[in-house]
Symmetry: C2
Subunit: 226 residues, 2 copies
């Protein structure tokens, strides 16, 4: 029997936020299609987690798109992995126009699947320095999506960009994820895990994650380099 | 002596419109950086023309970005080349969210180069069926660009999306190109040239191009299959 659930594209990196986002979309009754990107970032192990989460939450399809970003910018996230596994606080983790590119691909897939719903796990509180994590950015992309597509022009459906975590603190996201059955031992947040895929515990992403668990008086279930 | 010209990113396919666009941006005094995409389209020869035009018009850099689009949509332009070199009028040449994805990459490059100017050769008259060729789309992307980037947020510069051909008919574009020194024998417009790179003369793109030259009572300088 064919399903009548609406389809949603979920941007999924395999970290705390996007895995919780996937669980939430599933809980809200969407048929979920997960979309990850393999750009030349240091943390390529996150794709394993994204794939696993897609299976766990019954994604109908998980698509991974290679993005050539090497040598484009000065962001540490898109450069070749460095020999040292230690994070230096001076690195710039902002990737130019990253969420714009990610949402553009999601929009293409939404149009192909005839889906009206794109979920993105941006978080304005933890990432105040990232312009493409703010409500004004999400709203502007939604406006764009409505004029950029055949569907939008025909006015028979309106694409919605869902960013339900945008005003949430990390602890609240973890709590939401736990209530929705997310197993955070199967998520990865570190910008620069070591070759054995163990999180560094030092980068901004690790620190924010650890602080979130600490606020809940919980132990983060993943291992960290000592 | 360092140049003080502003930098512009030019989306360049190597056809009539984008080659004229490149010539125009150069004429307007910009330092030009050309951006092409290698997605799995039938007409891959256009990239040769894009590269050549970049050299001819003194582009400081020509970047070609591979885009994996295979099997995403139902557009003929992104499917594998068919065995027949003949165009069938039933094909759908609309590629989902194509210009949104192209402009997103251009925005990333603009941010890296600290450029405020992106040129796109969209044409609303010839491509009335394409939502992402309309003024409302260009305007929406410009709004997005201004909230999506560090530069936009800092308010120290505002990205402009230039679409100077948007209201022009093909004949007028050809005339403009000629006045700016474009050699149209070095451009390619066909959706499905044969293995010898000869244009079909039958597809919409060939027809529009041929009609443009005919309106000017000129011979299109490229060869067509007989």
């Amino acid at each position: 029997m064919p399903t009548s659930s609406p389809k949603a594209i979920i941007l999924l990196s395999g970290g705390v936020d996007s895995t919780t986002l996937l669980a939430l979309a599933k809980h809200q009754g969407f048929d979920v299609y997960t979309l990850s990107f393999a750009y030349n970032q240091c943390n390529s192990t996150e794709l394993t987690y994204a794939k696993r989460a897609s299976e766990l939450f019954g994604a109908i399809q998980h698509l991974c798109i290679p993005i050539q970003f090497h040598n484009w910018g000065h962001s540490t996230l898109v450069q070749s992995p460095r020999s040292s596994s230690h994070y230096t606080p001076e690195v710039n983790t902002y990737v130019p126009a990253r969420n714009t590119i990610f949402l553009s691909y999601a929009l293409a897939w939404a149009e192909i699947l005839q889906s009206n719903h794109i979920f993105i796990g941006v978080n304005a509180l933890d990432y105040t320095d990232y312009p493409d994590c703010r409500p004004s950015f999400i709203s502007a992309f939604e406006q764009l999506a409505r004029v950029a597509t055949e569907a939008g022009v025909k006015k028979d459906r309106q694409i919605e960009i869902h960013a339900p975590l945008i005003e949430m603190e990390k602890a609240a996201i973890i709590q939401l994820g736990l209530s929705l059955g997310v197993d955070f031992s199967q998520t990865q947040s570190c910008y620069q895990p070591n070759p054995q895929h163990i999180a560094c515990g030092q980068c901004d992403s690790c620190k924010i994650r650890l602080a979130g668990f600490a606020q809940l008086k919980m132990q983060d279930p993943i291992a960290y380099q000592t």
